[in-house]
Symmetry: C2
Subunit: 201 residues, 2 copies
């Protein structure tokens, strides 16, 4: 389980798992210590407090995922290619770590403090670039006239929401984890064709 990681690495790995599963308020330092296979006192030796440890984990998790979203409209591809790429890559990745989206969204809801705002302001999506591309491809007659924010919300909603609602979906449909993943695999094409057809002229 622990291989030959340093103690600090073991703590971070355990803390990520526990915080993702239980959230800041629900997680116990004892849970993290047990998961890491070490003593509770070590957590404070390395990270001083529960809050400090959490902030590091949150910064890592959010700092890894938000850029993926922000980069949707960064590259130099056509809009259609960007949308298709995003849907496939995002779903492929989050299938591996399905609790990340609700973890991030929930913690933002519960603790909308300053450090959160800073985290986001440093990663403002290139909205202007996206707007320009929309205008350009509209003039070229490739796509319809669309509201940028609504389009962005459509893509994010369709890709992310199923993960946020995963337990509810499984309860209602009776699916197991594998069934859910297969459904999400199918969903890559579903979402990208839905979006593209909605803006294609």
């Amino acid at each position: 389980m622990d291989k030959d990681l340093t103690t600090e690495q073991k703590i971070l790995e355990a803390a990520r798992k526990i915080f993702l599963a239980k959230g800041l308020d629900g997680a116990r330092m004892q849970d993290i210590a047990d998961e890491a296979g070490i003593n509770k006192a070590m957590l404070h030796y390395y990270f001083r407090s529960k809050d400090k440890l959490f902030q590091q984990i949150f910064a890592e998790v959010a700092g890894h995922f938000l850029p993926k979203i922000m980069a949707i409209f960064e590259s130099e591809k056509t809009l259609f290619e960007k949308i298709e790429t995003f849907c496939h890559e995002y779903i492929s990745q989050v299938v591996q770590t399905p609790y990340v989206p609700i973890f991030i969204l929930n913690e933002i809801n519960r603790h909308p403090e300053e450090f959160l705002k800073k985290l986001f302001r440093n990663q403002m999506p290139p909205v202007q670039k996206m707007v320009k591309q929309l205008e350009k491809e509209n003039e070229q007659g490739i796509i319809k006239k669309v509201e940028p924010l609504q389009l962005l919300l459509n893509v994010l909603s369709l890709c992310i929401f199923p993960f946020v609602a995963k337990p509810m979906i499984q309860i209602i449909t009776g699916m197991d984890g594998t069934g859910f993943n297969e459904m999400m695999e199918q969903r890559k094409r579903e979402v990208s064709t839905l979006i593209i057809n909605s803006i294609k002229k």
Copy 2:
């Protein structure tokens, strides 16, 4: 503030507000007592324990919202009418209580215990009825052939996700609450036309 409600009503009102804002793990009995303007001991006098109080609140909140969702495909209208009605009514309602969706989804994630499953099994959506309507309208040449679960997920994702991500959206775009509500007003048409165009033949 408290008007002439009974003590029990004051407690329930306060508990709903605090639990919605902080979740089960983050809420304190003291917070609820303060919000209700009464003493902490009264909470136990009326509801015995924090857990009992929470379960009552959760059952009320979920019991009020889930049937709305389940009823999407209950009525006798055409599919197009159902979708349009749902988008408008759901968004109108949740604008009034924007934290309900993430509250429900988060608690299901954190505590997928038996009482949750029961709550849902009592409210199984009429999937079969929906499937039949899809087949029928498909044969009549009104709509394309579609995957029922994917269609359902599309509608729910597009309507619900923006509320789940509301704080993040506001931070990123710089919107205030009013701006968000205006955007959601616009979104009623955005979502229903997007969905309907995707299945219309």
